[in-house]
């Protein structure tokens, strides 16, 4: 009996976590799934009526939802690519024996620990047209003609937010790549050098394949983070000017604020499934190319 008790005793410690998971995650997800098929509205908060797939049809016909979807994809893809490229370059440079590499590792990693809201507010003032740091630098180096209202121009506003995301997370990607690089045995490089491999061949045939696990983590995390983007856009542009930088996160928030709860829940569900599917595909593809060391 005691043996039986001891066997299950450790499981009891998981009950609080499971309870929290069920109450704050599983039940809301299930409720969200059901409510996304209703006309739930803030004016009829206790009387949601089943309306089939009407909410989802509306989403696909709503030009601003489609714009937000397009912006979200653009944001997620560009930020992921840039973060990987910059993170990888930084990692390779700071993995070599250069002076002050510990200092630079810390320096480049630092943005990752800052609050997104704080970063957003700081960069909003950097991009200001009147007395913004960027425009002042451009003026100081004689490039006045490039001065612009960076966050007020529909053509540049989203790019500014993308820049901030890349600035913030490249150092984090660098740290993961660094860990991956340091896990690769020097023996592979020595052996290849003896065989006459060039630096480029070493990168392509040793570094890149053996860095695949780190690559999987960075791609998955940044893609998911990119699709979930909200704070940076909300703080820096609020989805504007007009609706130019609207992403799914800000658009869902706006729909909730308007009180169209069923419709905004449907949007949330759409985003949830979209991210899940993309994450699974990415994971499957990238895991497939990982090699054993």
């Amino acid at each position: 009996m005691d043996k039986y008790k001891n066997k299950f005793y450790p499981n009891y410690f998981t009950f609080p976590a499971i309870a929290i998971f069920i109450v704050f995650f599983a039940i809301p997800i299930a409720a969200g799934f059901i409510l996304s098929f209703t006309d739930w509205n803030i004016n009829r908060i206790f009387e949601p009526k089943f309306n089939g797939i009407k909410n989802f049809i509306y989403l696909l016909q709503d030009e601003y939802f489609l714009l937000a979807l397009k912006n979200t994809f653009k944001f997620a893809i560009i930020t992921t690519v840039l973060i990987i490229v910059i993170g990888l370059i930084l990692a390779i440079i700071l993995n070599s024996a250069i002076a002050g590499r510990s200092f630079f590792r810390t320096l480049f990693y630092m943005p990752a620990v800052l609050s997104l809201i704080v970063v957003g507010i700081v960069f909003t003032s950097v991009f200001k047209m009147d007395q913004g740091v960027l425009n002042q630098i451009l003026a100081a180096i004689g490039l006045d003609f490039l001065k612009a209202d960076w966050l007020g121009n529909p053509g540049t506003a989203l790019n500014c937010v993308i820049f901030v995301q890349v600035w913030k997370w490249s150092g984090f990607a660098m740290a993961i790549f660094l860990a991956g690089l340091q896990g690769i045995s020097r023996d592979y490089y020595e052996a290849s050098r003896i065989d006459g491999a060039s630096k480029m061949q070493q990168f392509r045939n040793i570094t890149f394949p053996l860095l695949a696990p780190a690559f999987t983590i960075v791609v998955t995390m940044n893609t998911i983070g990119g699709f979930k983007v909200f704070e940076q856009v909300y703080v820096m542009t609020g989805g504007g000017p007009g609706n130019a930088t609207q992403v799914l996160g800000t658009y869902i928030y706006r729909e909730f604020s308007k009180g169209t709860l069923g419709r905004s829940t449907a949007m949330g569900l759409f985003l949830f499934f979209m991210i899940s599917v993309i994450a699974v595909i990415i994971n499957k593809v990238l895991r497939g190319r990982e090699v054993e060391m």
């Binding site: 006309d39 509205n41 803030i42 004016n43 908060i45 206790f46 509306y58 030009e63 200001k128 047209m129 009147d130 209202d149 960076w150 966050l151 007020g152 121009n153 529909p154 609020g238 504007g240 000017p241 007009g242 609706n243 130019a244 909730f256 604020s257 308007k258 009180g259 169209t260």
Partner: protein, 462 residues
């Protein structure tokens, strides 16, 4: 021995854990709802010996009133009034200040779920239907302070004639161009008073030519509520006698937004102000908060806004000479104003509605109202309250347009049923200004959304 020690350790740990959690809980209560985006400002409860003579027999003594409002409506003077009431009546006030863009939906959820504060602030009577005032709020028509009202007719519910809130002012929203007199004089313009829209454009031209880099008309389109002022005022003014009929037909689906040519023309006029270089280059990324400095320091000559801006400018730049004039949209020189005032409601579901009603009665007394008007002169809702010396640029609008009846209610109040989707329309205006949508596209897009919204609301005719 080992087992006993283990048990003792676990008990000790559990005790410390419970103690720590309860301490965290208390702390959370004190900080109120700050974590959920709500700023809470609570004063300490006074000891009985500080309770004033007035309050000794009042039911307010020892009570705590929760007061929900939004950032845009909350002023420091509220704290001053609350402190004075607390001193006299021993009644503590807990302000719960919610961000503006979350306020409407949060309030509706609170009312629908009966998780209500004792008092909340909202515009009325035009917004009564929006929050279901007749269903969720106490009828205050028979309160004593009603007999002291300056303008009781304005605040009666359009449907049942009841008064559902204690008004803050007798009228509000004098939307006009507020200008820096010194800047205009330097451009050769004294006491501008355009009678036609062309004359208004002439003033802009003069500043553009002679202003030495001064922005003729400051725009703050990052705050879309400032963008909409031009259109919201212009539609009823330009439509003039046909305005009421046009809005009624829109509300009954007998007319479409795309079928009113004035709407498109007015939006085009607004876009032209940008295209013709009358406005600041950063108009799409700056908000209302930047306007006082630009106007006060003379970097901008004019700003189309509400009367609050005049007070903001003069509080920061007391030497600034401010003037005001009305834009004669469609060559009609009429002031567009709000058919609403701000008011304090008592929800039916409140735990102490009698105390809340008594609190409102006290809040309306001249002694406390004048604490507000001492620093923010305006137009009090009560005959016996001194509103102080109103800024000249605002007073002149009231004298010339309100007192003479030469005013019309803004679009938002004539179609208050649509208040939920106005912010979308305002965003479309910004898209027109930024060049991503034509004025025609704006109304085509909005018409679709309007129909969808009215259908969701179950409006007749849709």
């Amino acid at each position: 021995m080992k087992k006993a020690f283990k048990k003792l350790s676990i008990m000790g740990f559990v005790f410390i854990f419970i103690f720590a959690m309860s301490a965290c809980g208390n702390n959370g209560n004190q900080k109120n709802t700050a974590a959920s985006g709500t700023e809470s400002q609570t004063r300490d409860t006074k000891t009985p010996d500080t309770v004033g003579v007035d309050g000794e027999s009042s039911i307010l003594a020892g009570k705590k009133i929760s007061f929900l409002t939004s950032q845009g409506k909350f002023f420091d003077e509220y704290n001053t009034i609350a402190e004075a009431i607390e001193k006299d009546y021993g009644c503590e006030v807990e302000f719960q200040v919610v961000p503006d863009d979350e306020y409407q939906s949060m309030l509706k959820v609170k009312l629908a779920t009966s998780e209500v504060p004792d008092i909340f602030e909202y515009n009325f009577p035009t917004q009564n239907a929006d929050i279901g005032a007749d269903q969720y709020c106490v009828d205050l028509s028979n309160e004593d302070w009603v007999t002291r009202l300056v303008n009781p007719g304005l605040i009666k519910d359009p449907k049942d004639g009841n008064i559902y809130a204690l008004p803050k002012e007798s009228s509000s929203s004098y939307m006009a161009v507020y200008y820096n007199k010194d800047v205009l004089e330097s451009c050769g313009i004294t006491e501008p008073h355009p009678k036609t829209y062309a004359e208004f454009l002439e003033i802009l031209d003069a500043v553009k030519e002679k202003g030495d880099g001064v922005t003729p008309l400051y725009m703050t389109n990052a705050d879309t509520w400032t963008t909409q002022i031009f259109m919201t005022c212009a539609y009823p003014v330009a439509l003039a006698d046909t305005a009421e009929d046009t809005f009624w037909k829109l509300l009954n689906n007998e007319l479409k937004w795309t079928e009113v040519p004035e709407f498109e023309e007015i939006l085009k006029s607004y876009v032209d102000l940008v295209k013709n270089g009358y406005v600041n280059e950063d108009h799409l990324s700056v908000g209302y908060d930047t306007a006082a400095e630009k106007l006060g320091t003379g970097q901008a000559a004019m700003y189309l806004t509400i009367e609050q801006c005049a007070a903001d400018v003069l509080s920061k730049y007391p030497d600034c000479n401010l003037g005001s004039f009305v834009i004669p949209y469609g060559d009609n020189e009429i002031l567009a104003t709000g058919a609403y005032v701000q008011g304090l409601f008592v929800p039916n579901a409140g735990s102490q509605t009698d105390v809340a009603k008594e609190f409102l009665a006290v809040w309306s007394l001249p002694k406390y109202q004048e604490l507000y008007y001492a620093t923010k002169p305006g137009f009090p809702a009560y005959k016996d309250v001194d509103g102080g010396e109103v800024v000249e640029s605002v007073q002149s609008l009231v004298d010339e347009y309100i007192s003479t009846g030469n005013y019309i209610y803004q679009l938002n109040d004539q179609m208050s049923e649509c208040s939920t989707i106005w912010t979308d329309l305002w965003n479309y205006y910004v898209e027109a200004v930024s060049g991503t949508k034509s004025p025609k596209d704006v109304f085509e897009t909005f018409q679709k959304q309007y129909e969808d919204f009215m259908q969701q609301q179950g409006a007749e005719g849709f």
